[in-house]
């Protein structure tokens, strides 16, 4: 029986879809059977980020309205052994599906997968209620900005009300230099306010933008710092204990040597 995890944030543009795509891909790379579900109906993006847009035949609305079986709507990502995705509809909107329908679809997927990653739309309305309906665990994505943290807090409150006992937190798009100079919120401050478990921090990385445009999730790139972060988060989801990577870890051999000699 698989575990359904919803990736949500409240605020738009903090990286829910990117996180869903990368975590799903990372888990699949580690041999897990993964299904990505896009619930952002009317504004679907997950298929674009995954590079699977041109293979969509049926979508989640077709499944909900019995025009096809769930198996027919699933798209297999051929790059991996066991990675599938259930796309959202682009022509309808959030009110064309009910939380109960989503819950049934997720339930029907659970026996065939280890992990079902649900990409949630921004906001706290019907789309949000749909996305969390079938999930038993939640990952909150936020960025080191006050507005994003506020919205994350709001969403955590709503999730707690909906019996999600311990949502996990990902802080996305951290710029170590800005945090150091005090221009960005500190990770500790964010964690203190939100008071939930931190499951990973992802540095701001140009590779992520490049990857999203090329339809190849960042985790597949060995040179990307964000990729390492996503892989670490995936390992933590699998139950491994991976220490949080220090932000200035990537400073390179040269600066390490300098530090050693007391010049850093």
């Amino acid at each position: 029986m698989g575990e359904a995890i919803v990736v949500t944030s409240g605020k738009g543009g903090v990286g829910k879809t990117t996180t869903s795509a990368n975590l799903g891909t990372a888990l699949a790379m580690m041999g897990q059977k993964v299904c990505l579900v896009d619930t952002d109906i009317g504004l679907r993006n997950l298929d674009v980020v995954m590079g699977l847009e041109n293979r969509i035949v049926y979508d989640i609305i077709d499944v909900a309205e019995d025009r096809c079986r769930v198996g027919q709507a699933l798209i297999k990502d051929k790059r991996f052994e066991e990675l599938y995705m259930l796309p959202a509809a682009q022509t309808k909107d959030k009110n064309d599906i009910s939380p109960e329908q989503v819950r049934q679809i997720i339930e029907s997927l659970k026996p065939d997968f280890d992990y079902i990653i649900i990409d949630c739309p921004a906001g706290i309305e019907q789309g949000f209620r749909n996305a969390i309906a079938g999930a038993s665990q939640a990952i909150i994505v936020t960025t080191p900005e006050n507005a994003a943290v506020r919205d994350a807090d709001r969403v955590i409150g709503l999730l707690e009300k909906n019996n999600f006992p311990s949502p996990k937190l990902i802080i996305n798009r951290i710029r170590p230099t800005m945090v150091k100079s005090g221009e960005m919120l500190e990770i500790d401050d964010i964690c203190q306010v939100l008071a939930i478990d931190l499951i990973g921090i992802v540095p701001d990385d140009e590779f992520v933008i490049k990857a999203a445009n090329s339809g190849e999730p960042t985790v597949m790139n060995v040179n990307s710092r964000a990729a390492i972060a996503y892989r670490n988060i995936a390992r933590r989801i699998l139950g491994e204990t991976v220490p949080l990577s220090q932000l200035d870890e990537k400073s390179g051999m040269f600066s390490k040597v300098k530090k050693f000699f007391g010049m850093g």
């Binding site: 006050n146 506020r150 919205d151 807090d153 709001r154 955590i156 409150g157 709503l158 707690e160 203190q192 306010v193 939100l194 008071a195």
Partner: protein
């Protein structure tokens, strides 16, 4: 009103108990009492009978009790031993006394706690979260959101927080926005109160000096 229902007479070993209805108008009750004693006048002749009057929940001033005694005095042999009311009900007192609510949890953005009385919160108030109370508010955690103490106009209400970093504080009808008016960067527990109509912040240890409330210590 039927006179029977307002006055009940019971015989006990020591004498007679008069149970006077506590719902009817007092003047009405005296009339009924007069009528009853006149009616049964003969029965009350003879040896001295001790009378115990029970007023139910009715509370009477001394002068009204005297009016009852006057009625009985007309019957020479009736001697009033006592005029008693039921012990005062405690319930109305409790309702007006401040109640302390204890809540455990984080008040997150978009959530509101509202109570009559005082509130002690074991947890934080996050930005966008709100507490509204008619009494005092004690936050045993970080206060980063909005708190309104004394919301029904009690300007003596105070707001206490382990970490005072509010978005906005309100006491009675005074609204205060840090850091325009004041800032707090102290690591110790502080409280907010109204000093001559303006919001002030001080460390919690100053509260006893400001309030001058008597503390009773055991021992020594």
């Amino acid at each position: 009103m039927a006179s029977k229902s307002t006055i009940t007479i019971k015989g006990i070993k020591e004498g007679l108990v008069f149970l006077l209805d506590d719902q009817v108008d007092f003047v009405h009750l005296l009339d009924d009492l007069n009528e009853k004693l006149d009616k049964h006048g003969q029965q009350f002749n003879g040896p001295i009978v001790h009378i115990f009057i029970k007023l139910g929940s009715r509370q009477l001033e001394e002068e009204d009790k005297e009016r009852i005694r006057a009625v009985f005095r007309r019957q020479g042999n009736l001697l009033i031993q006592s005029i008693e009311s039921d012990p005062k009900e405690e319930a109305p007192d409790l309702a007006s006394a401040p109640t302390l609510h204890k809540i455990v949890g984080i008040v997150r953005s978009g959530q509101t706690l509202e109570y009559d009385g005082d509130l002690i919160l074991l947890g934080d108030v996050n930005p966008g979260g709100t507490i509204r109370c008619s009494g005092n508010v004690y936050v045993m955690g970080a206060l980063r959101g909005t708190v309104h103490a004394g919301k029904d106009g009690n300007s003596d209400a105070i707001i206490v927080a382990s970490l005072m970093r509010p978005t906005q504080l309100r006491i009675a009808d005074v609204i205060s926005r840090p850091p325009d008016e004041w800032t707090s960067s102290e690591p110790w527990m502080e409280y907010a109160f109204l000093r001559e109509g303006t919001m002030s912040i001080d460390k919690l240890t100053s509260l006893s000096r400001q309030r001058k409330e008597v503390m009773l210590f055991k021992g020594v």
